[in-house]
């Protein structure tokens, strides 16, 4: 009974944030599964041209609709800001296309809540997924950014309150993708990031917006490379921090 009370208390302060654009085919099913776990759900509709908002609302999510298309990370940040305003202490972010399984959420949260050496962010990691382009991107970005993470682009994450505050900050608003820039910012804020292997399904429909073609990959790699080189931790930074 004590464990159930603790779980209930935990789910009351936990919210799932889902950025979505034209995901009317999958969003209702996802929200319904999450509601079965008694989780609050915020869907941020990135100016969809289909019925994504209506489907999400019908399934029980709170829906925020952006007035123009602004990108997945902006939508996610909007949801995280809304979560902070509402007083949530833990936020889970996931994709709307059915790749991430709600059944993995308790495992991610249990890592966040463990008693020893608690991380601030737990990343659901699946390095087996992805084509040659994605694997190449990860290798290059790992080298440029200095981040020691296997899955750089997973959107399946759990953030504690400290991490939510960091990524909700205006300094993260102009970032275009949810990976390198955000992970570097979290790392530089001296927050602990940990990965947990999860299985990811193939996309139910549609395709990756970043890795759909070599031109989008080139744009993404150029952007991420510039950001990595500019914002990574350098030896001089480490020395300065040591002296403080």
């Amino acid at each position: 009974m004590v464990l159930k009370a603790k779980q209930n208390a935990c789910s009351e302060r936990t919210v799932v944030v889902i950025p979505a654009r034209n995901e009317s085919l999958s969003i209702a099913k996802l929200v319904t599964e999450l509601k079965r776990q008694h989780l609050a759900v915020i869907v941020v509709d990135d100016h969809s041209t289909d019925t994504t908002s209506e489907e999400a609302a019908r399934a029980g999510a709170q829906v925020l609709r952006l007035p123009f298309h602004a990108g997945a990370w902006f939508a996610m940040q909007t949801g995280l800001r809304a979560a902070l305003e509402k007083g949530y202490q833990v936020a889970i972010t996931m994709d709307a296309d059915g790749q991430h399984s709600p059944e993995d959420i308790p495992r991610l949260i249990s890592v966040l809540n463990r008693e020893d050496d608690q991380p601030n962010v737990v990343i659901g990691s699946c390095i087996e997924r992805g084509n040659r382009r994605r694997q190449l991107a990860w290798r290059v970005l790992r080298w440029l950014s200095g981040l020691d993470l296997a899955d750089m682009t997973s959107g399946f994450r759990v953030y504690d309150a400290k991490a939510m505050a960091v990524v909700a900050d205006p300094s993260c608003t102009l970032i275009e993708y949810q990976d390198i820039g955000i992970l570097l910012r979290l790392s530089q804020s001296r927050l602990k990031l940990e990965e947990l292997p999860v299985e990811m399904q193939s996309r139910a429909h549609g395709q990756s917006r970043i890795f759909k073609s070599w031109s989008t990959v080139l744009y993404y790699l150029t952007y991420s490379a510039l950001l990595s080189v500019s914002r990574r931790q350098y030896a001089s930074d480490a020395l300065l921090q040591k002296d403080q």
Partner: protein, 119 residues
């Protein structure tokens, strides 16, 4: 210090400034591609000034420094145009936001919420 050394230093300084601006979140990342390209051009032309002579000969300009000035003006004009296009895009979004805010304020008023600031 030779002029070549000065220009190489200038190009590297521009590149360093761009990276610092990105690091301090003062510059949108992809806007830096343009400026880093300019920094690269400065360094390349400083190391290989004969490229200006070759370029002038290829386009039929008899006085090579004219090509440098003309190229610099052209690059700045294009950059100005791209900046205006970007600003137009941002202005449209700002106006959409203003409309949305006004509609939300009206809705809040209708629902009987307290004073709405009309600054």
């Amino acid at each position: 210090m030779s002029i070549s050394g000065f220009l190489v230093g200038l190009g590297l300084f521009v590149a360093l400034m761009i990276f610092l601006l990105i690091r301090r979140d003062r510059l949108v990342v992809m806007h830096s591609v343009w400026w880093l390209g300019i920094a690269l051009m400065i360094v390349v032309l400083a190391l290989f000034p004969e490229l200006v002579d070759l370029g002038a000969k290829a386009v039929g300009i008899s006085y090579p420094p004219s090509l440098l000035f003309m190229s610099a003006i052209l690059i700045l004009v294009i950059k100005l145009l791209l900046s205006d296009i970007d600003r137009s895009h941002d202005r449209r979004r700002l106006l959409l936001l203003a409309q949305k805010v006004s509609m939300l304020e009206a809705q809040l008023k209708e629902e009987g919420h307290t004073h709405v600031d009309n600054e």
